[in-house]
């Protein structure tokens, strides 16, 4: 184990403080910078960081132990994360993980003894249409087939710097398969701002309200109302936050928007600032998309240079607004707006008690608008072209869908709100699909018999994730993947979600081994009855959806997961009992990752 010298820790800390700042709110970004230099946040650094930021050691420990991408022990020189999201899973991510680990002689999640490499499974990396996918030292890896993984193992053994790896390994494609009015007609830079400048903030707000635009992240709160509540809330300052923590398994359209339409998204933020009176904004960028940061910084800089951001926007002395990028650190829960704000404030991403809502008491207790990337993108188009234009094909406007899974043409599809599940399946070439998971792990399983259902505000909400399952796909693997996902991502704050997701996970693990019994079936029924209803936020609210859908929609498959014979040794699992001794003697016990 590498031991860091105190002088190295001090130097890394100095550099982090210079780049980020030295208040308690900077704690998360300081930890990220420390890790960038040392590959981890070592326990010996914790008291130093705490003193430098004027905070407690517990605060720093709380961050390192909360965020999946922060570590207290060194990572390898090559730090891999391979996606285990269900859509990558269907493309063979499990086999690739095993192959890479075997080739490199590492255990998942454990650094190799020589410090060369770490390979860790993670959930969705937002590259589901070109998987199996992953990250190495923060850079995206796509289309990891067997051959590519072998090559990568060789490059790692040769300690070849990433810059010398074949560039196509890192190539990310934005596959826009169906463009509708938003994607097909990009805005000219500053177009929406110039139109907004010629009108009063109130009339811009009314235009957004008239469009009926609702939050594209999945919660579907009316955007205009959110802006108005923030505008009218008493406060000393106001904030606009772009929620780029696109963590729902199977969604990647925000990644594409941030790559190809960043100007439109930032324009949406700038408009929101004009309407609400905010002078400061943040893009909260998920850790899995850290590789987009340089591009976004460049777009921000260019817009400042062009007078579209910063002081005196479009020469207007009363229009000042600038944007900072904050990186996440691996926590699905931070997609929840109040957890995101906690994270922005340098804390663990634990959702706040509401009321009060962020529109009245958000970042630093001030009125704050948190909008999804696509919402801001759409708002800019509405301001530039009007609500009638936006709603010409559907009263709800149009919506982006990230399509992955068993289909011929995975990618991004823009459809008018209200299109049916079948419309998307057909467009994507999902012939013979048996089911679709709409809205990701937190969403709903739609069987082929329900494909006529429209995707709209009331009947089938979506964050944009659309995973197609072919006729041969065992839907239980999806249920198991999602249930484990929630157990991994629950923040742990409230009892029903923290305990419920763990208990559900343990049942699912036993189902997978054929060791679930009638008693477990009762347990699941009770968890479905309690956890969603009592939980603190939407994560717990939807954590039992996968099990509920399997139980209610695929009763045959579900029942087959339970052993009939109650007389077997009930919950005694010989393999599990022997796993410790097997690990000592070198026999490998089968096991799922946590």
């Amino acid at each position: 184990m590498e031991v860091f010298k105190n002088t190295d820790l001090q130097a890394a800390l100095e550099s982090a403080l210079t780049r980020v700042g030295s208040t308690p709110q900077d704690a998360l970004q300081v930890c990220l910078h420390m890790q960038e230099q040392l590959s981890c946040v070592p326990p010996a650094a914790v008291p130093l960081i705490a003193r430098a930021l004027g905070t407690t050691t517990g605060h720093i420990v709380s961050l390192v132990s909360f965020y999946s991408f922060l570590h207290d022990t060194p990572r390898g020189l090559f730090n891999f994360y391979l996606s285990d999201s269900i859509s990558d899973h269907m493309q063979g991510s499990r086999q690739r993980l095993q192959q890479l680990c075997l080739a490199l002689g590492v255990q998942p999640g454990e650094p190799r003894l020589d410090g060369r490499v770490t390979v860790t499974p993670t959930y969705c990396t937002g590259l589901c249409d070109q998987g199996p996918a992953g990250l190495v030292n923060g850079r995206p890896l796509t289309r990891l087939d067997e051959e590519r993984v072998n090559q990568i193992a060789r490059l790692v053994e040769d300690a070849k710097p990433l810059d010398q790896w074949p560039r196509e390994y890192f190539r990310v494609e934005n596959n826009y398969v169906r463009k509708d009015r938003l994607l097909a007609t990009p805005l000219d830079r500053g177009e929406a701002l110039r139109i907004a400048q010629s009108r009063s903030p109130e009339s811009v707000l009314q235009e957004v309200e008239r469009s009926g635009l609702t939050g594209r992240g999945g919660a579907r709160f009316p955007t205009g109302m959110k802006w108005r509540l923030c505008r009218e809330a008493p406060g000393e300052s106001r904030y606009v936050v772009c929620n780029a923590d696109e963590g729902e398994p199977g969604t990647f359209k925000d990644r594409a928007l941030l790559s190809d339409y960043a100007d439109d998204v930032i324009e949406g933020m700038t408009l929101c600032a004009r309407v609400t009176g905010a002078q400061c904004g943040f893009i909260y960028l998920r850790a899995e998309y850290a590789w987009l940061q340089a591009h976004l910084e460049w777009v921000l800089a260019r817009r400042r240079f062009d007078g579209l951001l910063g002081e005196n926007i479009l020469g207007d002395a009363n229009w000042t607004f600038d944007i900072e990028i904050h990186l996440g650190a691996g926590a699905y829960i931070c997609g929840e707006e109040s957890a995101l704000i906690e994270s922005l404030e340098g804390k663990r991403g634990v959702p706040r008690s509401r009321p009060p809502y962020p529109v009245s008491r958000g970042y630093l207790g001030q009125p704050t608008v948190v909008n999804n990337v696509e919402t801001l993108f759409a708002a800019a188009h509405i301001a530039a072209r009007g609500s009638d234009w936006f709603c010409a094909d559907s009263p709800g406007g149009s919506k982006l869908h990230s399509v992955s899974g068993d289909c011929k043409r995975p990618g991004i599809y823009e459809f008018p709100v209200g299109c049916s599940v079948k419309d998307i399946v057909q467009a994507a070439g999902g012939d013979g699909a048996s089911a679709v998971q709409v809205a990701g792990a937190a969403g709903e399983l739609i069987l082929a018999t329900e494909f006529d259902r429209p995707i709209d505000l009331d009947r089938l909400k979506t964050s944009g994730s659309f995973i197609i399952f072919g006729p041969d796909h065992d839907l239980f693997t999806t249920t198991a993947n999602f249930t484990r996902f929630f157990a991994h991502e629950t923040c742990g704050f409230c009892a029903p979600c923290r305990t419920g997701t763990q208990l559900a996970r343990s049942v699912v693990d036993r189902m997978a081994k054929g060791r679930a019994f009638g008693r477990d079936s009762d347990a699941i029924d009770r968890l479905i009855n309690v956890t969603p209803v009592l939980s603190h936020c939407g994560l717990g609210g939807s954590a039992m959806n996968p099990l509920r859908d399997l139980r209610d929609k695929c009763p045959q498959r579900y029942r087959a997961l339970f052993c009939d014979d109650e007389t077997e040794v009930l919950h005694f699992d010989l393999d599990a009992e022997l796993s410790e001794i097997q690990s000592i003697t070198g026999e490998v016990a089968g096991g799922e990752r946590d």
Binding site: G58, R348, T499, L503, V533, L534
Partner: protein
């Protein structure tokens, strides 16, 4: 005329700024809770005080009482969910009631009796957790912790010491100590601190005086939890 709300068919007066929990308590109505303690700002994490306010589930300890609210509090549906939740909390940690120092003075145990929990139908998780025995007067036993956050509030707000923090995520959630070593013995906490006695379940316990009162003669051996605020308020 004073403002009021309805809790289970009973009219309850409210004062400005009160939560539903505060209004209920003032009227002598007990709402189940573990993480709530009237001395501190509500934490809202145990969710046992979840009530239906005009048809929407809310935690009574955080929800402001507003004139005219209709609150469903002790319906069989809610009580049944609370009972299940207590089972889930038991299954999560390591709770050794029969020989626990806190037995008979423990809020979690008392709630289980109150809600009629006779057995646990969930598989216990038996997590591996550590004991911090580095302090000369106190023991920090993570086995029993239910993550209510009361030690954090008490140390910060009453003792002005800020000894504890909540760390980890999900099943790895844990209380940590604000000292360079992370050990309780290296923190500022002392036996006379409020934080040393606030724990509702015995995760933080004084070393001395254990079993001074025999099991059978402890508070909850004779009283239901709905007679008092919580164990720490009584001890």
């Amino acid at each position: 005329m004073t403002d009021s709300i309805i809790i289970d068919d009973r009219e309850v007066p409210i004062a400005a700024g009160q939560t539903i929990m505060e209004a209920a308590r003032a009227a002598g109505i007990y709402i189940e809770h573990l993480c709530y303690n009237p001395q501190y700002a509500p934490h809202g994490s145990c969710k046992l005080c979840t009530v239906k306010v005009d048809g929407v589930m809310q935690t009574a300890c955080t929800m402001p009482a507003l004139p005219g609210q209709v609150v469903e509090c002790s319906s069989p549906e809610l009580e049944q969910r609370r009972e299940t939740l207590v089972e889930m909390i038991f299954a999560e940690g390591n709770h050794y009631c029969p020989f626990c120092i806190k037995s008979g003075n423990c809020d979690l145990q008392a709630l289980a009796y109150h809600l009629g929990m006779h057995e646990n139908n969930f598989n216990h998780r038996y997590p591996v957790r550590t004991i911090d025995a580095s302090h000369s007067d106190l023991i920090l036993d993570h086995d029993r912790c239910i993550f209510c956050g009361l030690c954090i509030s008490a140390s910060r707000d009453t003792d002005q010491k800020n000894v504890f923090a909540m760390a980890g995520r999900g099943k790895a959630t844990r209380v940590v100590v604000n000292s360079d070593s992370g050990k309780l013995g290296d923190s500022d906490i002392t036996l006379d601190d409020a934080a040393a006695h606030i724990c509702p379940v015995g995760a933080i316990m004084p070393r001395a005086g254990a079993y001074a009162t025999p099991i059978g003669e402890r508070y909850f051996d004779d009283h239901d939890i709905d007679e008092i605020d919580n164990a720490s308020g009584k001890l």
